[in-house]
């Protein structure tokens, strides 16, 4: 059974100017140990979908399960089974790395001793050991991102949600992060659901892609299959396939990574 599955997942916002259908019905699944790339132009409904899957937003239609737990009926089960790394990270700049990791583990209801040992273990695993007693504000971009990832992994989640994980990173740090995500998947069988608007990232990292536009899934498949189907051959660029499917580029004026 799929670790992550959504069926007709929808969200309509009520605004002063009438209802806005941000997500109109998303169907998707992800298997254990799969890296699923979730792509779409700006305003396609990526963030809204992600916020629903992480229980931050209640769906107005459809259903979804994470690790067998229903989003609406068992949000607590969903929260226990998933880790979420937001684009903004989520650490306080004035708090030390150690305190943030320990607090996070305690928020996931680990005992005191367990939280301390898990912090050491994660720090060793993600190259943060020498940084534990520094304030998070003093970390470099790449170090910060590794900390954000560690925060999402504290409770060994079955599904890890990553929102634009490499935005603002230099090329070296991006490559490191990609390696890290692959390693997490291989070593722990974690399912990774990542949104990105860097098509090279989606191409390099994801086993399978789901492309959304105007709140619905418009294409789905492995990067190569999408290129063959929509851009003529597997040697074509994902950008061409993306353009063919959505009629738009991945993000206005932002199709190449920053700092390249």
């Amino acid at each position: 059974m799929a670790v992550l599955s959504a069926s007709g997942l929808a969200r309509t916002f009520t605004t002063p100017r009438g209802p806005v259908e941000a997500v109109r019905g998303i169907d998707l699944t992800a298997e254990r140990g799969e890296i699923l790339g979730f792509l779409g132009p700006n305003g396609a409904g990526k963030t809204t979908t992600l916020r629903m899957l992480t229980t931050l937003l209640t769906p107005t239609g459809g259903t979804a399960t994470v690790a067998g737990c229903d989003l609406v009926r068992d949000p607590l089960g969903v929260r226990r089974a998933s880790g979420y790394v937001a684009q903004s990270g989520g650490v306080d700049p004035n708090v030390s790395v150690r305190e943030e990791l320990v607090t996070q583990a305690r928020l996931y209801r680990l005992g005191k001793a367990e939280a301390a040992s898990r912090t050491e273990e994660l720090a060793a695993d993600l190259g943060l050991t020498g940084l534990l007693d520094r304030k998070t504000a003093t970390l470099s971009g790449g170090q910060r991102r590794r900390l954000d990832l560690a925060m999402g992994l504290t409770h060994r989640p079955q599904v890890l949600f990553l929102d634009e994980p490499t935005t603002g990173l230099d090329p070296g740090s991006r490559a490191d992060l990609w390696d890290l995500v692959r390693r997490i998947r291989t070593e722990h069988g974690t399912t990774v659901f990542l949104t990105t608007h860097y098509l090279d990232e989606a191409d390099a990292l994801a086993d399978r892609l789901v492309i959304v536009d105007q709140g619905v899934v418009v294409a789905e498949g492995t990067p190569d299959a999408l290129k063959r189907a929509h851009a003529g051959s597997a040697a074509a660029s994902l950008q061409d396939a993306f353009l063919a499917v959505t009629g738009r580029s991945a993000a206005s004026g932002d199709r190449t990574p920053v700092a390249v």
């Binding site: 229980t55 931050l56 226990r80 903004s88 989520g90 650490v91 305690r106 928020l107």
Partner: protein, 251 residues
């Protein structure tokens, strides 16, 4: 239940450490009431403000609640910053109790403002305040309850706005009338009838009257009863609103 308590303790600890890290901030809130005490209090000493007790027994209760009013109303500022860092969302995707996310914060706020209230009363004792100890302790309890109520409302509002620039003016336009209409500085009974009647629609007035009653030792008065009831209603309504805000939005 035990996880709710440990969640609350965890959140309280996090924010208490945050406060302890900035010693200056701990003392800053007490500055404004202290200035009133030093430069406004002496003006009142020979005025017949009340049939029982000295002018200090009228002024200091007002200053205590002023401390709570202005301090707690601005608590939301902190959470706006945390929202921008993503800290609020990061906590909301964990299994932590939503009520604990609120309660841990407001208990820290209550502890901070009661601490400041103690400093203020110590300064007032030096200036000439004489009041029964149980009355002073009741005053601290009112500061704590007022802080919990107003800080909750402040957090609920802060979860809905996006920038500190939107938040500040709203709070200012609510706290100033609250201060004037509740008779924090001088008892409303001194004023014309219409002003006194108007001020009865301001819940904070009942708290001020109750603490003034406590400071002259009249614990079984109707002022005390009304104050306790007003405080309980205020704290129940505001905590309900804020827990709902934590459960729902927070973009």
């Amino acid at each position: 239940m035990s996880s709710f308590l440990s969640d609350t303790a965890l959140i309280f600890g996090r924010y208490a450490r945050q406060t302890l890290r900035s010693r200056l901030q701990m003392l800053f809130g007490v500055l404004m009431p202290l200035l009133y005490l030093l430069f406004f209090g002496p003006l009142l000493t020979d005025l017949p403000l009340s049939s029982t007790g000295s002018s200090w027994q009228v002024l200091v209760p007002g200053l205590l609640l002023q401390l709570g009013l202005f301090g707690a109303s601005f608590c939301g500022f902190g959470i706006i910053l945390e929202k921008q860092y993503g800290v609020v969302e990061r906590m909301r995707v964990t299994p932590v109790s939503r009520l604990a996310l609120l309660l841990g914060r407001v208990l820290r706020d209550a502890a901070l403002f009661v601490f400041q209230a103690v400093l203020l009363v110590l300064a007032a004792l030096v200036m000439g305040l004489r009041a029964p100890l149980p009355g002073i302790l009741i005053g601290f309890a009112f500061v704590a309850v007022l802080t919990v109520a107003l800080a909750s409302l402040s957090y609920a509002l802060a979860l809905k706005v996006h920038t500190p620039q939107e938040f500040g003016p709203v709070i200012n336009s609510l706290t100033m009338p609250s201060m004037l209409l509740s008779g924090l500085m001088l008892p409303m009974t001194l004023g014309p009838k219409w002003l006194d009647v108007l001020s009865h629609f301001m819940p904070l007035r009942y708290l001020v009257d109750a603490v003034r009653a406590a400071f002259v030792g009249s614990y079984a008065s109707s002022a005390m009863l009304h104050g306790v009831l007003a405080a309980l209603v205020l704290v129940t309504v505001s905590m309900t609103l804020c827990t709902r805000a934590f459960r729902r939005s927070a973009a």
